[in-house]
């Protein structure tokens, strides 16, 4: 049967084009791959190849024709043994083929915002009442979390710069090499992009890597693998394979290390579907959340803080202690204002709450603990009670987590707000080195107190 040669789409955006030149004439024999015409698209002049062998039976669109719509028949090809007389039998043009193929079926946003559901915060205790507690630094808690999970699961391993023989640049992996050996505690060369990629590949291949970045500032060299390779593969593969792994290390400002070593990446990673993002404050949370992260079947970003490493907290003595993601912790109950923070921001939030109490202002302090997923219910329930909210973080102000929370609260608890939400953040400047300027660039307790007074009209 004669087959039609259709005007081809030759770029992702082409709808019509100019049939600039025919390189064959009626009666010519062509084989697959032969260039039969030149077609001008919106971008360039393209060569158009035959995809079948046969004879050019009839040319339907003359050369020089402009505005020829994609999928218009431009010629008829005959197979062996057919003649031009058979052309009448050619099927009717299927100009609508592409329209059929691509119905505009987009998921649309609901026309009207649904009435927000009543929040159902889960404030069950993280460990049973009466559990024995011990005092531990965040550093020790993180180390114990890794060691415990490595004892349970032989596919868990740690890789990164100075994690093994040096015992960790910040001593978080202290003792792991001795217990687990160099097969599972692996010093890498200084090559973040490369070892992050190898870590993701190892996760595809059935292992559960813990990739330590000496700081998350250096992970910018590796961010393509974190986002394009680790976070997106499960989706791109239709659920066939993903990257169950943890990227961890200190994040945010330490002290006097200036612009390139002092950035908080919480908002960056929380932006990405496919990642989970944890930013713990206390040692108990660091332990319970890191164990949970190692067991999680997805890529988890675990943002630690150098200043918090040496801080001591009570940690439950339990055989198997994990904390689920997306469950905030209420550190302090209050009536007048909700202060939402996480990570090192909690030091300012809690300090501010103490001082505010002295002035008779009762602040409820919530530690989000995870930035993806976020426990919105706990935040909304608290705001419905206090009617005021201040967020506290060290990251930059534009597109901060605080901005996102403000929008969420506005959409879901607008009628409960007695004042605009205020975001306390780091300043909109690269981190300076000078001690006085550095202090000014970070969030301060005084700023949190000031913000609370603003929203409570004191």
């Amino acid at each position: 049967m004669p087959t039609e040669v259709l005007m081809p789409a030759l770029s992702p955006t082409m709808e019509e084009g100019t049939l600039a030149k025919w390189l064959v004439k009626e009666g010519d024999t062509v084989s697959s791959g032969d260039i039969i015409a030149e077609i001008e698209t919106d971008k360039a002049t393209m060569e158009f190849e035959a995809v079948d062998e046969g004879v050019i039976g009839k040319i339907l669109v003359a050369e020089g024709s402009e505005g020829v719509k994609v999928n218009t028949p431009i010629a008829v090809m005959l197979e062996e043994g057919e003649s031009a007389d058979d052309i009448g039998e050619a099927p009717a043009p299927k100009a609508e083929a592409s329209a059929e193929a691509a119905p505009a079926a987009e998921a649309k946003a609901p026309a009207q915002a649904k009435a927000p559901e009543a929040p159902r915060p889960d404030q069950s205790p993280d460990w049973p009442e009466g559990t024995e507690m011990k005092t531990q630094t965040v550093r020790e808690a993180l180390r114990d979390a890794m060691a415990e999970e490595m004892r349970i699961d032989p596919t868990v391993f740690v890789m990164g710069e100075e994690v093994a023989e040096y015992q960790g640049a910040y001593k978080v992996t202290q003792g792991l090499l001795d217990e687990f050996g160099s097969k599972r505690v692996i010093d890498t060369p200084i090559t973040e992009h490369g070892f992050a990629g190898i870590g993701v590949g190892a996760a595809f291949g059935g292992l559960k890597p813990i990739v330590e970045f000496m700081t998350f500032n250096f992970a910018m060299q590796a961010i393509d693998h974190i986002i394009n390779s680790a976070a997106k593969t499960l989706y791109m593969s239709g659920g066939q394979m993903g990257a169950p792994m943890v990227f961890r290390g200190p994040n945010g400002a330490a002290a006097r290390v200036a612009a390139q070593h002092s950035q908080d990446y919480g908002a960056w990673y929380a932006h990405i579907p496919g990642l989970k993002v944890v930013q713990p404050y206390s040692a108990a949370d660091a332990k319970g959340l890191l164990k949970q992260a190692i067991r999680d079947p997805n890529p988890v970003i675990f943002l630690e803080n150098e200043i918090l490493y040496g801080k001591s907290f009570d940690v439950p003595v339990m055989k198997d202690f994990t904390i689920p993601f997306g469950k905030a912790k209420v550190w302090r109950e209050g009536e007048d204002v909700t202060i939402v923070s996480w990570g090192i921001g909690m030091t300012y939030a809690l300090e501010a709450a103490d001082k505010l109490a002295e002035e008779g202002i009762s602040a409820e302090v919530i530690d989000l603990r995870t930035l993806r997923p976020i426990d919105y219910d706990t935040v909304i329930a608290s705001v419905m009670k206090t009617n005021r909210c201040v967020t506290v973080e060290e990251g930059f102000p534009v597109a901060s987590i605080g901005n996102h929370l403000s929008a969420y609260i506005m959409q879901n608890a607008f009628d409960y707000l007695d004042a605009p939400v205020i975001n306390c953040t780091g300043k909109d400047v690269p981190m300076p080195y000078a001690a006085n300027l550095e202090k000014l660039a970070l969030t301060t307790t005084a700023e949190v107190i000031e913000a609370v007074k603003q929203v409570t009209y004191r």
Binding site: V51, S98, G197, A202, S237, G238, G239, P273, P373
Partner: protein, 345 residues
């Protein structure tokens, strides 16, 4: 450390049946790609579509050197690799048309396709990113001590990415069982190798890491297979990575919308007429009396039917249901902003 150009003497001895199967496998890729180009022209395939026409002998030769369980990972010019490792043409073509019957349920497209069953780990859209990923797969195999080898394919263009050398270093340091396959088709999109590469012999770039390298004629499927066998034996014996620079040529543009003005039509025509890998095997089969014209016609017919069937499947398979927008983001249940939005427009 051996870096060498492989010679004809290193070629495998193959049976007539093997030769026929290589002919068949290469022809499947070519006809499949031609059909994909046709469907693209009809608007059934969208976005970027990078065809493998001309390079067929590379993947077919190397798959002949692979064993069950070996892994492969490549860039976005990936249709040939998928067909060569035994993935179903229907599923590949339906992914190209963005349908539910595709390997990624229509959510990955031409550049992002995977098959756990066939140990095909993508299909990656970022030039060079598959190189450490491939080394990571090999890292897992070494860790699990399962004796597997990973073929990590990348182009002469990707060979200039820094992460390739970060990976060479670690792969050599840790003796990872990975074959780095540099498919040198001589153009990084529109930039010829002469204009992008300071030293033309990419196979020598492993020397400073202690990785042996070999240059192979990629238009000769038997030479590719022989080199692949050498490389795989090296990796499997625990000696670490191996580099194969396979000289090949892509007949079509970089992607469907590339007019390919950076080279002459004569250059392409000369390759097709004088060096074509499929024609070479066809001639061997006929001249050696291993197959008759009719035998080959039967193979051609079989391939045509497979490809036509895949195109029909890819047209008939429905688009993914709108709920698919929200699946496969996490491997477990995770609440997401706006995840209830699936109403039809």
């Amino acid at each position: 450390m051996a870096t060498r150009k492989s010679s004809a003497a290193a070629k495998s001895n193959v049976s007539a049946d093997e030769l026929k199967s290589y002919y068949r496998d290469m022809l499947l890729i070519r006809r499949f790609e031609e059909k994909a180009g046709q469907l693209y022209g009809m608007g059934l395939i969208g976005g970027f579509c990078h065809l493998y026409i001309g390079q067929e002998a590379v993947v077919v030769g190397l798959e002949a050197a692979a064993e069950e369980g070996d892994k492969r990972v490549t860039s976005y010019r990936d249709h040939g690799h998928m067909l060569a490792c035994g993935m179903d043409p229907d599923g590949v073509m339906a992914e190209l048309t963005g349908r539910i019957g595709g390997y990624s349920k229509g959510k990955g497209g031409s550049m992002h396709m995977f098959s756990k069953e066939k140990h095909f780990y993508g299909g990656h859209g970022i030039v060079g990113a598959q190189v450490p990923l491939g080394a990571g797969l090999a890292f897992a195999d070494r860790y699990l001590e399962n004796g597997r080898v990973t073929f990590t394919y990348f182009g002469d263009g990707a060979a200039n990415q820094g992460q390739v050398y970060e990976t060479f270093n670690m792969a050599a340091l840790w003796k990872l069982p990975v074959v780095f396959v540099i498919e040198n088709n001589q153009y990084a999109m529109g930039t010829s190798q002469q204009r992008s590469t300071s030293s033309p012999d990419i196979y020598k770039r492993g020397e400073s890491f202690g990785i042996p390298g070999e240059m192979v004629d990629g238009m000769d499927v038997l030479a590719v297979k022989a080199a692949g066998e050498t490389a795989v034996a090296h990796c499997r014996s625990g000696k670490g990575p191996y580099i194969l620079e396979i000289k090949t040529y892509r007949y079509r543009g970089h992607s469907m919308s590339d007019p390919a003005k950076y080279r002459t039509r004569e250059e392409v025509q000369k390759m097709r007429e004088e060096r074509d890998a499929i024609e070479r095997v066809r001639t061997m089969l006929l001249d050696g009396g291993h197959a008759s014209e009719d035998d080959l016609k039967a193979i051609d017919k079989e391939i045509k039917d497979i490809v036509n069937k895949s195109a029909e499947f890819a047209k008939d398979s429905p688009e993914p249901p709108l709920e698919e927008l929200w699946t496969d983001i996490y491997a477990d249940e995770v609440p997401q902003d706006g995840a209830n939005v699936t109403e039809e427009a």
